[in-house]
């Protein structure tokens, strides 16, 4: 049977072309119209060059600079005509939907064959043509479906389609509707190329493609400074990672003589063309550097929180469910190579664990609903790398899979909230939305339970097995870090939940009257993803409950490190502990954040709105310190000093101090060095011919001397 795999990425590409073309034609027509209007308004001016004096031709833009806010429906022009919107919607969703149907048509029979014959299932490889041939090395345009890419393909297409559908409603009023769908389709194409690639260079094409789309979509509101800046930050940070990635690819070439994924099998059988342990370590570290950039790990995570400047469906699709997990996919894909360099795996594990706890602690101090989710994503990605680092690659991929569902659901839910509140993203100005937006409330509750790791929701199974693997591998410190992170995760997620949905609304009554539940195109994806957050966990039940389907399915593609068997009793105990920690986090959040007794005033200090109700509740219940400290202010200070302040200080320090000083400092320092070199280069280009001739003569003398000295 001939599998038309190439059609899967080709369909979104077609969508991109159609949407792009329609958008271009319409845009050009509008520009023409604006140009004519401009000419009418400025009849005297010809083709002058003094553009400084020209006023903007296409309507004045009010320049909001509320940092980090997704101005959802902020108009950059009039809404598109309905026919055009219909076209963009149908093409955008249709092509991706078709690709999904096609993928599942291929995936389901393939999965069946894998499950029925674990060892014998061969990857499906479809070669279109030879792309580059150097010497004996050939790089093909070839697609590959094996267990690993099948897993990625399934959720990329499925979640992708849902988010496209959601965007139809969410982006309705945007002037850039067509452009948005064109970019989104281009993203799907690139992501599918990344997932289906049969060699590293092709994977790299997809890798760069998703990076470009991410850049374009973060900067979607390009007339906003913060959006453009965020796009730039993402771009710059990712280049650092890409540098490692390119060198890593060359390294793989040097080690195995091929960049085809057959090197995985060679690595498994330890057949290297050349290479020392140090060489293998270096290659793994370089590839991991690439993964760190794409998957926002320390120290390259800084771009992801800023990336929330893009529209919310973009945050859900690219910056939560799919693109950012590409790094994990890369590490899992090269798992056999990493297993040859245990030190590299240790590096992966520690970076993952460090990122997980760092991001989670920062998440504790955020008030922007999307920022909480962004740091949560970084933290969860850290978990995935932790799993890979302790050798449980299949479990890491399982977490990628479950995370795609519940995190997409959370983001789309937050989008729905933002939509309902007309672009308010500050949780201090929310509250009491449970009744007004019931569908959003319920789906977000389910996915919050999933990410917090409450049985039987999806996150429980994947996260618990990550912790279990760390424990079984004897990495007790990593295990402890993961456990603390789990507690923090549960806390900040339910802090978010309480501040958003519980209690009473904290905005003005006038705003309250406008709150509305989102349209069906937005709630239907929410329901489906919510169901996914409940169900996907059962695909990977821990071994104690019988067979782990996920691990078994992935075993032909990814490696596994041998771990000590732990007794069933220990495993049950570990589950109980992680459940207890998550429960404690949720309990604390419920106690401290009632969401009542306050009205939001934009300039107010955070503790006025957050800590005081929490403090009230805390002290009324315990009744000890409450009597000692008479007034509210002292209570606040007490609770601040005792509990929240250390947390927040750490969080704020890590966020402000580490981020701003260390990371930005590093970036600035390297920028300074480059600038210095640039000045040096320009210094020699004085403009004077005699100096030019002097450099010439110096060059000749230098080369002569160089040869002489050799």
């Amino acid at each position: 049977m001939n599998y038309p795999i190439w059609l899967i990425p080709a369909l979104p590409l077609l969508g991109f072309l159609l949407n792009g073309l329609a958008s271009l034609l319409y845009g050009a027509a509008q520009a023409q119209k604006r140009g004519e209007e401009w000419r009418k308004a400025h009849p005297d001016e010809g083709h002058g060059h003094d553009h400084g004096s020209h006023e903007a031709a296409h309507g004045a833009h009010d320049s909001h600079d509320a940092h980090g806010h997704d101005h959802g429906h902020h108009d950059t022009g009039p809404m598109l005509p309905w026919a055009l919107r219909l076209f963009h919607g149908v093409v955008g969703v249709g092509t991706v939907g078709l690709a999904t149907v096609l993928s599942f048509g291929i995936l389901v029979p393939y999965a069946k064959s894998v499950m029925s014959n674990v060892e014998g299932a061969r990857p499906i490889v479809e070669t279109l043509y030879h792309w580059i041939q150097v010497g004996g090395l050939s790089i093909d345009i070839a697609f590959r479906i094996d267990a690993l890419s099948a897993l990625m393909l399934s959720f990329v297409t499925f979640v992708g389609t849902l988010i496209h559908l959601y965007s139809v409603g969410y982006m309705q009023a945007e002037a850039g509707y067509g452009r948005f769908f064109a970019y989104l389709n281009l993203f799907m194409f690139s992501m599918l190329m990344l997932v289906l690639a049969n060699n590293l260079p092709m994977l790299f094409i997809g890798w760069e493609g998703v990076g470009l789309c991410s850049y374009l979509l973060i900067g979607y509101y390009y007339d906003k400074d913060f959006a453009a800046a965020a796009g730039k930050k993402a771009f710059v940070t990712n280049r650092v990672g890409d540098f490692g990635m390119v060198l890593g690819i060359f390294g793989i070439l040097a080690l195995f003589g091929t960049t085809d994924f057959s090197f995985v099998d060679m690595a498994r059988q330890q057949q290297m063309a050349s290479g020392t342990p140090l060489g293998v370590y270096a290659v793994c570290a370089l590839l991991f550097l690439g993964a760190c950039g794409k998957s926002a790990q320390v120290p390259l995570y800084v771009w992801l929180p800023d990336a929330m400047a893009g529209p919310t469906p973009v945050s859900a699709l690219i910056h939560a469910a799919t693109m950012v997990t590409a790094g994990v996919y890369l590490v899992a894909r090269c798992s056999a190579v990493f297993l040859l360099a245990p030190d590299a795996l240790t590096l992966v594990a520690w970076v993952g664990a460090g990122t997980a706890i760092l991001a989670a602690s920062i998440g504790l101090a955020q008030n922007d609903i999307k920022k909480v989710l962004a740091y949560s994503t970084v933290s969860q990605l850290g978990y995935m790398f932790l799993a890979c680092g302790v050798g449980a690659f299949a479990i890491g991929m399982f977490h990628v899979f479950t995370h795609a569902f519940f995190k997409a659901c959370l983001f789309l839910g937050s989008g729905s909230v933002i939509h309902a509140l007309h672009h308010e993203q500050d949780m201090r100005a929310m509250g009491g939305l449970a009744k007004k937006t019931p569908a959003t409330h319920l789906t977000m509750l389910v996915s919050a339970l999933a990410i917090a790791g409450i049985v039987p929701f999806a996150g429980f199974f994947s996260k618990d097995q990550i912790l279990g693997s760390a424990f079984a591998g004897g990495h007790y410190i990593l295990f402890a870090v993961g456990l603390v992170t789990a507690g923090m995760t549960a806390f900040y997620m339910f802090r978010l939940y309480r501040m958003t949905f519980s209690g009473t609304y904290r905005g003005t009554p006038e705003q309250e009257s406008h709150i509305h539940e989102s349209p069906l195109t937005m709630t239907v994806p929410l329901w489906i993803l919510g169901a996914g957050s409940v169900l996907t966990g059962f695909l990977g039940l821990p071994e104690v409950f019988g067979k782990n389907l996920m691990v078994e399915f992935l075993s032909p593609s990814v490696g596994k490190m041998h771990a000590h068997e732990v007794s069933h009793a220990t495993e049950y105990l570990l589950m109980a502990v992680s459940l207890a920690v998550a429960g404690a986090g949720i309990f604390l959040a419920f106690k401290w954040y009632t969401g009542q007794d306050a009205k939001f005033t934009p300039g107010a200090a955070p503790e006025d709105i957050i800590a005081s109700p929490a403090a009230h509740a805390f002290f009324e219940k315990t009744g000890t310190l409450g009597k000692v400290v008479a007034n509210k202010w002292n209570v606040d200070e007490g609770i601040e000093a005792l509990v929240l302040s250390p947390f927040r200080k750490i969080g704020t320090f890590l966020w402000r101090g580490f981020d701003a000083l260390f990371i930005d400092g590093l970036v600035n320092a390297s920028a300074f060095m480059v600038e210095l070199t640039g000045d040096l280069v320009r210094f020699f280009t004085t403009g004077n011919v005699r100096n030019y001739a002097l450099t010439f003569v110096l060059g000749v003398l230098g080369f002569t001397l160089y040869i002489w000295m050799r």
Partner: protein, 100 residues
């Protein structure tokens, strides 16, 4: 007895004088003459080698160089004239608008 070494040494001296002229002179005309000096050093070299080797190729090359140098001078002078018309001087330091 004047040997090949003398010729080559003289040629090197001439070439160095030419190079120095380009490096230190501001007047474009003088620079042009310095470049001619460099070319003549080359010619001297070629003729000396040609004579010593008994091979006519060197002579031939020298004649070609003289011819090309004439063309070069013509174009150089044309550029000098254009520069003078625009700037009112043939000082190379005045033609340093573009830099960086």
């Amino acid at each position: 007895m004047i040997t090949l070494t003398h010729y080559v040494g003289l040629s090197f001296l001439l070439f160095s004088i030419g190079v120095t002229g380009v490096l230190i002179r501001r007047n474009l005309l003088t620079v042009l003459m310095s470049i001619e000096l460099m070319l003549n050093a080359v010619n001297l070299n070629l003729i000396a080698f040609s004579r010593q080797l008994g091979d006519l190729n060197g002579h031939l090359f020298a004649i070609f160089i003289i011819t090309v140098a004439a063309g070069e001078a013509a174009i150089g002078l044309a550029i000098i004239v254009s520069l003078y018309r625009l700037k009112g001087s043939v000082n190379l330091d005045d033609a340093a608008e573009m830099k960086g």
